[in-house]
Amino acid sequence: MAAGGEPKKVKSAIPPKTMIAFGLIGGLIGVYAGHFLSDMFGPVLSFFGALGAICAIVWGADTVRRVCSYGIGTGVPSIGMLAIGIGIVAALFGLAVGGIAGPIIAVIVATILGLIIGLLGNRLMKMGVPIMETATAEIAAAGTITIIGISTAMAGTFEITGIIDNVIANGFIAVVFIVGAIAILHPFNANLGPDEKQDRTLSVAFIDGSIAMILAGIVVAGVSLASAVPAILIGLAIWLFAFAKYLGYVKRDAYKVVGTGLLPTEEELS
């Protein structure tokens, strides 16, 4: 689906470095806050993990828009699936061996795996995408934080035993997998086109992140019913706020937003 116009380097109002810092630091703070606050005050505060995941999702979506504007030949979705595929392996590995440093180890492992796949893609398979190496590493890291963040919000902890009991053994990891993948790939895919704008794309990332948060809220009801309430309510609030923002951007950027009407006339088009 290379219907996005000619490959080019996209304009970004917010530079990539800021996005990396936002995703990495915001994501890790969220994950740790979700873990420790749940430890102290119960799983009712686990939603911080989902907030961390939203930071990572926004970062991942921004990376997708940078790399996919070059046209990677296989469509936008595949790179999101790759990110989450690496993310699952790296996240579980980090949490299994790292204990309290788990999330950090997971991110490092994911970055290395992503770099290797990017290198193989560009050097061995000659994909010829200039930022493939760093972008794959970034996407893998973002996917990893997303998975750890949502899982923490679902389980109230990121200790591997807690994650296995509350997220993996009952299969909810599947929803973490796919909701994370879609949240990373959907914002750019939904806004693909020559007049794509960073702020509009990223507002969709917030919306998709809020859906992941609501889902985390539904699942954490299995741990304790009351703890579902804050996650779902905050998720809905983020959804509403981000949607209002997005609608504003759409009205700003669209050729015109009309209630109904005929197609533009010949004179209008020329």
């Binding site: 219907a3 296989t74 469509g75 595949s78 595929g85 193989l120 061995l124 398979m125 296995i164």
Partner: protein
Amino acid sequence: MIDYVGLMADNLLYLLLIVVGGLLVAIGVHFVPVGGAPAAMGQATGVGTGTVQLAAGAGLTGLVTAAAVMRVADDMLLVIASGMVGAMIMIGSTMLVGNFMYIYGVGVTPASGKVKYDPITKDRQDLYLSQGTEGHGVPTSCYISGIIGGGLGGLGGAMVYFALLSVTNATTALNVIGLASILAVAIFFINAVIASYNIGGTTEGFIDPKFKRVPKAIVASIVVTFLSAIMSIIIIGGI
């Protein structure tokens, strides 16, 4: 602290099986005739969808069959054969009904744009291309290629699942099934995307010139699956 060396030594066979399984997935994707967006418009030969997605659909269907068999039998050959058959049935039904679409819905004959004669049926192909297209539908060679590809995908996915489930561990069966299944899915997707990068998203199967790029995907797949396999074994063996 986990004894990593001991864990690896105990599970060396399974490590090997995971790498082979991942490799089979990557090779299998090269066989699946997928034409991407143009194929959905009858402009290119193959199934009108994405490589990763069709391979995933077939391979995961195989995984479901393999898991059902593995519940009652622990013979590895049987499990992976079941995975292969499940995936073959899925991709076979899909391509057959896909051809229904091209023949009865669009009114075209399945034909390949990459070869003049179908290597299996010896049928002339180039005369059956409608104007301005590079082929349409799934001719017999592509169909058989797709069956092989789907089968390899199911075989590989089931092999990874079997190996992960057999890793020595100290936890309940339910936990291991959860971990093994999602890690198998993850390793499947990683390999499918790598293979898809290698062929640039579309192929006609083994009759396509792009098929010669397989060795590159093999190298990439071995490197990445090997790393993933070590980590997966540590995850399952460590808990």
